[in-house]
Subunit: 213 residues, 2 copies
DNA sequence: GTCTAAGCGGAGTGTTCACTCCGTATCGTA
DNA sequence: TACGATACGGAGTGAACACTCCGCTTAGAC
């Protein structure tokens, strides 16, 4: 939860506390109002001035980035934990746990998979291992790919964004459906999966469009 | 494609033409830049002044509404056509056809299911009939509900929004997965489906949040 | 051809943001 | 306790946007 990332010299005690208050407030406000929430509002909720916010985070973008790192951090940890699950059940565990966690941060989830950071690569590699493991135990159909799982994430995001305020658990039912579709079956899925290279391009482009607007 | 909706007295010939140009331009621009695209840009692409745009559509919201009606109109027609399909295959046909069509209007799809208009009710009733028919022929699992289909729509929207510019067909693969999950299976989906009433509330709230921001 | 209701363009208006600047306050060391 | 480095607040700035207003233009009825 603390997510250090201290650069060089540690912050003064009060400054560090304000930094934490800002991060907490940002989570709260973004979840309530979405990414369009104003920085002024975040500062207000945190109980500090906008000046303080901007001394700690040079742009609004940087603030969101810090939150995203925090999510990625937790997600990676969840994937690592899931790898210890017996009998190839790790993937399903991970999908459920990470969705539940992400449901609490849906306000800025779109930024999650669109960062260049090493962390995204790490997360995707871990998930790939979960998929291999699940296939090995015949819990998941063999024609399912890593890119399919990425699409499934976007799909859950779409459901989350639509339902969260009113039906905070609706994503569970949808995940049920997705997992049912992932089970081994007599015939392969009709269309070809996205290539990893294409998916990378998707993520890169998506990021660009989020920034430009 | 023409979507009359003339109020009382017909528009002057040039005015009607400008109206069409504006609608066409709006589709183009919203698809390229999303709903945040500026009204000025739409007018520019249409080759008219902003004044003209505002004489035809009193607010930006009204312009989007006109586009949404156009999509709903087509979607309803597709559902009607699908009902004529033999052997309970109508639902799958409809899901594919309407997704393909909606992929060309992804820029403002979020507004689709959030209008109060009679058309949404009509569309949902038709889709419900498609579902009943598919179940009758044992093509779709019996514990699947209408609200599940709505969630599936949001899910596809999430995929579309993320992939469209780079991989315009990615949604097909995801739809494959969804449909695979909808097939009859030995056990029911673990979690309970959303009630229709809750879904209605979801849509209403979603709309409100779109307007306020 | 004339006349007028209908339509037009785009500068202007008010508002909302992200972000900056600087006079003041506080931390923490000696 | 004193003092410099660090941090603070929030008014101010410029840009972007939705929407309005009004002097000019044009369609189309006679």
């Amino acid at each position: 939860m603390t997510l250090a990332t201290h650069a060089q010299r540690p912050l003064r005690k009060d400054a560090e506390q304000h930094r934490q208050q800002l991060l907490t407030a940002a989570v709260l406000v973004f979840n309530e109002q979405g990414l369009d929430a104003s920085v002024t509002e975040i500062a207000r909720v945190a109980g500090v001035g906008v000046g303080t916010l901007y001394r700690r985070f040079p742009t609004k973008e940087a603030l969101v980035d810090a939150l995203v790192r925090e999510i990625l951090d937790t997600t990676i940890q969840m994937a690592r934990d899931a790898l210890k699950s017996p009998g190839g059940t790790g993937l399903e565990r991970f999908l459920e746990a990470s969705s539940a966690y992400q449901a609490e941060h849906a306000g800025y989830l779109r930024r999650l998979w669109n960062t260049d950071h090493e962390m995204v690569k790490t997360a995707r590699q871990l998930i790939a291992r979960l998929l291999v493991d699940a296939k090995k135990h015949d819990l998941i159909r063999h024609d399912l790919t890593n890119t399919d799982l990425s699409l499934a994430m976007f799909s859950l995001l779409g459901v989350l964004e639509a339902t969260l305020p009113v039906a905070p658990d609706a994503w569970r039912r949808h995940l049920d459906l997705l997992i049912a579709g992932m089970r081994p079956a007599a015939s392969d899925l009709p269309h070809r999966a996205l290539s990893p290279a294409t998916l990378d391009k998707v993520l890169a482009t998506h990021k660009a469009s989020l920034v430009s607007e």
